[in-house]
Amino acid sequence: MKLVIINYGAGNIKSIQFAFKRLGVDAVLSNNPEEIIAADKIIFPGVGEASSAMAMLKSSGLDTLIPNLKQPVLGICLGMQLLCESTEEGNTIGLGIFKTHVKRFDNTVKVPQMGWNVISNLKSNLFNGIKENEYMYLVHSYYAEHCSQTIASTNYGINYTSALQHNNFYGVQFHPEKSSTAGAKILENFLNL
């Protein structure tokens, strides 16, 4: 198993690497196109601001490489959001894998949403062994709207998409690497795809 975490300068990726290490898998951090293409599984992380993250992807050519990947890809948090059509954060055009848009929570709720919330209407083998309404750790100010590719939903003022899947592309808004044993199970499921 060759697992690569795409390292394009966006945020805390050590936690993801450590979470896989706890599962017995050494993930390689890389922004090298050849190394990414040769991987069995790929993690597309992201913490921070969308437009600057997208600029970093473009400067390294990863914006054209990622949509053409054929192996399973898991976008986490901002990584998931950048796989969508667009995000209101910095008026950023995304990579367009997931046919949905990312908007900011309105101020009827505290922003960012920070903490543990449930995921429901689970519809993917990514969630094998995960019970409905399992708790996941989330930290975000922007959310993806529902679409036909939605595979999990969460409620925070509104119902929104907390996971997506299209072909070999998966995306989760929550942080499985920080979501206790249930989060670890989701990462394990991804490794077993």
Binding site: G115, W116, V139
Partner: protein, 251 residues
């Protein structure tokens, strides 16, 4: 629904936990990693590590501890104590900390909040505020609560929110160590005037205090140290009681 959070706080000195800890199951109660793993396994929602010595010489030791916690603990954690530069925050986040907490350094140079928030995102910048009442006014204090300032708690909290703080950790020095309950009136006022999460700190003594701070204090999270470390309150039982009182909590 988003749950309320239970947050044990560990005081750290030279990479070791200092405040008395009385955990029967631990091989080494002074090892923050052992303690953190234990808390994660019994249902703590996140952890705060407060470096109470926070000397420049000790920084490497703290970074090493942060890395070991990140390696072994599967819930989020915040690191605070003596943080005053972008470079220091960068190093802590690179080692796997999820959030950092700044306190005195933000009062001394408020632009630090903007700079950190712009560089790393509001979601990982916690501003900790220590305050106590002087003539009926909540006044911000510095350096672990030893130095009073003229800053009003509510005005300062609003200012750091506007500057980009993602969360406020409010410790009432009037309540800290009393085990008589949290400063719920001030907490509720903070929660109603700000649109970012508020962590209550100072005063936890029994389970009812947690119910009160979530209901009356409208707190998003509650932090405590000794009641957890000495097993006076067990987190699984605390969370069960909160659930029975219809407080949204992760079980």
């Amino acid at each position: 629904m988003l749950t309320k959070r239970i947050v044990p706080c560990l005081d750290i000195k030279n990479g070791r936990t200092v405040k008395g800890v009385n955990f029967v199951d631990l091989r080494d109660a002074g090892d923050p990693v052992e303690l953190a793993k234990q808390y994660a396994s019994v249902g703590a929602d996140e952890l705060v590590f407060l470096d109470i010595a926070a000397t420049l010489e000790g920084r490497g030791t703290t970074l090493d501890m942060v890395m070991r916690v990140a390696e072994q603990v599967n819930i989020p954690f915040t690191v605070g104590g003596g943080i005053s530069s972008i470079e220091h925050v960068d190093a802590l986040l690179q080692c796997g900390a999820d959030k950092v907490s700044i306190n005195s350094s933000a009062v001394k140079r408020p632009d630090l909040v903007n700079e950190l928030s712009n560089k790393f995102g509001a979601q990982c910048i916690v501003v900790a505020i220590d305050a106590k009442q002087i003539n009926g006014q909540w006044k911000v204090h510095l350096a672990g609560g030893t130095i009073p300032t003229d800053l009003d708690l509510f005005e300062w909290a609003k200012e750091v929110e506007q500057r980009g703080a993602g969360e406020i950790l409010f410790t009432s020095m009037d309540h800290d160590g009393t085990k008589a309950g949290f400063a719920n009136e001030a907490l509720a006022k903070l929660s109603e005037t700000l649109n970012i999460p508020i962590i209550a700190s100072g005063g936890a003594g029994n389970v009812q205090h947690f119910i009160d701070t979530f209901v009356e204090g409208k707190s998003d999270a509650a932090l405590a140290a000794s009641v957890f470390h000495f097993g006076e309150i067990l987190i699984p039982e605390l969370k069960k009681t909160l659930k029975e009182n219809e407080i949204t909590i992760r079980l």
